[in-house]
Symmetry: C2
Subunit: 399 residues, 2 copies
DNA sequence: CCGTCTATGTCCAACTAGTGAACTCTAAGC
DNA sequence: GCTTAGAGTTCACTAGTTGGACATAGACGG
């Protein structure tokens, strides 16, 4: 690591500046890079040559009809990143390149009762299969992003209490997967990754402050503050599910009463419908029935929306984000749930905080988390690992 | 403004690095600067000379007993900044220098019904008086930080609905004061400034994520996220006072029911004691009585604490700060109010979010806001205006 | 079909700024 | 009084950005 404040650090920063600009736009000519980065054309010329030699960037000799600009884009095979998302009933893996393109993606059901070891085995297999399917070289894998449905202690990397995957408590998922795949693995919880995914590819594009609310087995929020995921000093920011809505409400698994979860999470909501709609109902089922017009399901979903809206109103008063993106199974209900949320927010949030707020469904559905994991892997590479050209040499991966 | 990525921007960054290091430590020798900033001794030598010539820094030829290190400190008279705080019953002004030293400070009562014009007149007079009292040259005033007890629209700079100073709604305080004093004025609401003050000088030192809760006529919070005041895209973050605690609670001035304010703010709490303790009770009075053992006041304060604790618990679940600092009149009650807050937080916040949380009283009392205003003025100068040595020449102030 | 125009990308000399090494200086320690 | 060691300065060197000159090649008008 060079000393900060030196010229070489400036150069490095300028390299990153260029890479970021290219990534953001997909592809740019050198002149455009110069304009967007503010660097001079000469510097850009040098930097592009350096990047090209390093293999991080590709220059397609002549672009479309234009004058004769050579368009610069991130080279697809300079390195690939992998996103892994453990959900509460599924495992999902995506493979992407540095150009933010998803090369392959697949999901498979995962037994809720699976042990952690089984889960990691399955993940390893699926990753291997997808890499082979895309035909890229395994040595090109630069990093893995991993999503788990529970709180991660950032210091130790251990998974805290997660009633969703009970067998996993106390494991260190990143270590575990790192051991199997031999590449750096970065872990975060599913709500944060969902937020990241929607921010990069989905309903959160262009917004710097947003909250991604994931309603599934539990209720969690991923907070994006000034363009960055905010985890809080202890790593547990975003626990919107355990905001107290009613001090004398139902007892929650966290030990308190009347948490938002007890009004909105699948595990508390589904039982309400079991006497009338049978016992093996899932949240997806409820949503489907509601869309088909089932009044009971509609009512339940509206009530859930109202409660979520109360929680979101609190969140808006405190953080005043410009957008709230709803994810998880429930988001499929569309206006059936968004309407009541907006209504509730309008009622309980102070007007100035709610005024410019937009409440949108996630654009990525169940893919938000894997894609977020991809984005995590990309961003944790620091945008600089990929610059020094030593990528394939420095990280002896697989064999 | 130079282009980013140029060498001169690097140089500027290094200048700031040095100034920051010196400010943080109060005074350093060049060798120490080199060690803490990571710059080489030669570079530090150049930079110090440049800063000394520019007048931002002072070099005291020989320090105490040491070998023969020349200690470098921010020069006190390179420029001064002013903090102005309009409270709901007072006006407070502080004068400080670039070394973060407070040179003079004074407060005087301000009639609640005063018109905005009257208020600004008074502020101008007090500022003038204090500048004269300190004996510094008026041309040295580099900027003013201004605190107002209500939401400020960051775009337009207008003061939103404030039931605290009714005559002020729609005014543009920064413009107003700028017109009178002829210097750049930066405005923010009192809770944010209190947070800034406590962060720089008070109970928040060394913490990067904290919430400053100000309980006075209303209840507001100033959020510090990763070392920076967070205002939210709309500028209204931190409105903890209007979190809903009880959907069927008392009607709040904001139009909702059961807001935290209706359980904690002076305007709602004092009436509870008027039948037993007389009608001209103030919050300070209640606190004093409680400290003296009055059971009614103790009970009221404890109840307020419990409710604040509920709000803080929500805040912790969402943001997971490492510290909560209590400000405003109520903070004087010490453990009488902090105990119930902690208890309530422990009960309603999820354990992992509350574990490393410390709840402390503000260390600055009623001065937090003015000092925060000073800090705002300093920081809005960008810590770089003060570097280019053109300070006194560039801003023709007063006469 | 050809000359001119214009925007792109490259090259080079100039300049800015940080760094290591050598050097000077001064108080402390013996 | 001599030595020593850390502090600060000077200087030559190097890294890296920049403006301007230059080559290039499509677009446009005739």
């Amino acid at each position: 690591m060079e000393t900060p404040g030196s010229q070489s650090s400036l150069h490095r920063a300028n390299l990153e500046r260029v890479v970021r600009a290219v990534r953001l736009a997909g592809s740019l000519t050198q002149a455009e890079i110069a304009r967007t980065t503010g660097l001079s054309a000469a510097t850009v010329s040098n930097i592009v040559r350096e990047l090209k030699d390093g293999g991080t960037v590709e220059v397609t000799p002549t672009s479309a009809g234009g004058r004769r600009a050579r368009s610069v884009s991130l080279s697809g095979d300079a390195g690939i990143v992998i996103g892994v998302d453990f959900g509460h009933t599924h495992l999902r893996v995506a493979v992407g390149n540095l150009a933010h393109q998803v090369l392959a993606e697949e999901s498979e059901p995962l037994d809720v009762d699976a042990s952690a070891a089984q889960g990691f085995d399955r993940a390893e297999q699926l990753v291997t299969r997808l890499i082979e399917a895309t035909g890229v070289d395994r040595t090109k894998v630069a990093g893995v992003g991993l999503g788990v449905p529970g709180p991660i202690d950032l210091e130790s990397g251990t998974l805290g209490s997660s009633a969703i995957l009970p067998g996993w408590i106390g494991t260190r998922p990143a270590e575990e997967l790192r051991g199997r795949l031999g590449v750096p693995v970065h872990v975060d919880n599913d709500a944060n990754l969902g937020a990241l995914g929607e921010m990069v590819w989905g309903s959160g594009r262009g917004v710097r402050d947003l909250a991604y609310i994931k309603v599934a087995s539990g209720v969690g929020a991923g907070l994006v503050i000034e363009g960055k995921i905010y985890r809080g000093p202890g790593g547990t920011a975003g626990e919107i599910g355990h905001i107290t809505l009613d001090e004398s409400g139902p007892v929650c698994r966290c030990g308190n009463r009347g948490c938002l979860e007890t009004f909105a999470a699948a595990r508390y909501v589904l039982p309400l419908l079991q006497s009338s709609h049978g016992t093996d109902l899932t949240m997806e089922g409820v949503v489907r029935l509601a869309r088909d017009g089932d009044p009971g399901c509609r009512r339940v979903i509206a009530d859930v929306g109202r409660h979520i809206g109360s929680g979101v109103a609190n969140l808006c008063n405190l953080l005043n984000p410009s957008r709230v993106v709803l994810g998880g199974d429930l988001a499929e209900a569309g206006e059936l749930v968004l309407g009541p949320i907006r209504e509730s927010v309008g009622r309980y949030a102070i007007p100035s905080a709610a005024r410019q707020l937009s409440v949108l469904p996630g654009a990525l559905g169940g893919r938000a988390e894997v894609l977020g994991a991809l984005a995590l892997a990309l961003s944790e590479m620091g945008d600089s690992t990929l610059l020094d050209g030593t990528l394939s040499a420095a990280t002896p991966v697989f064999t």
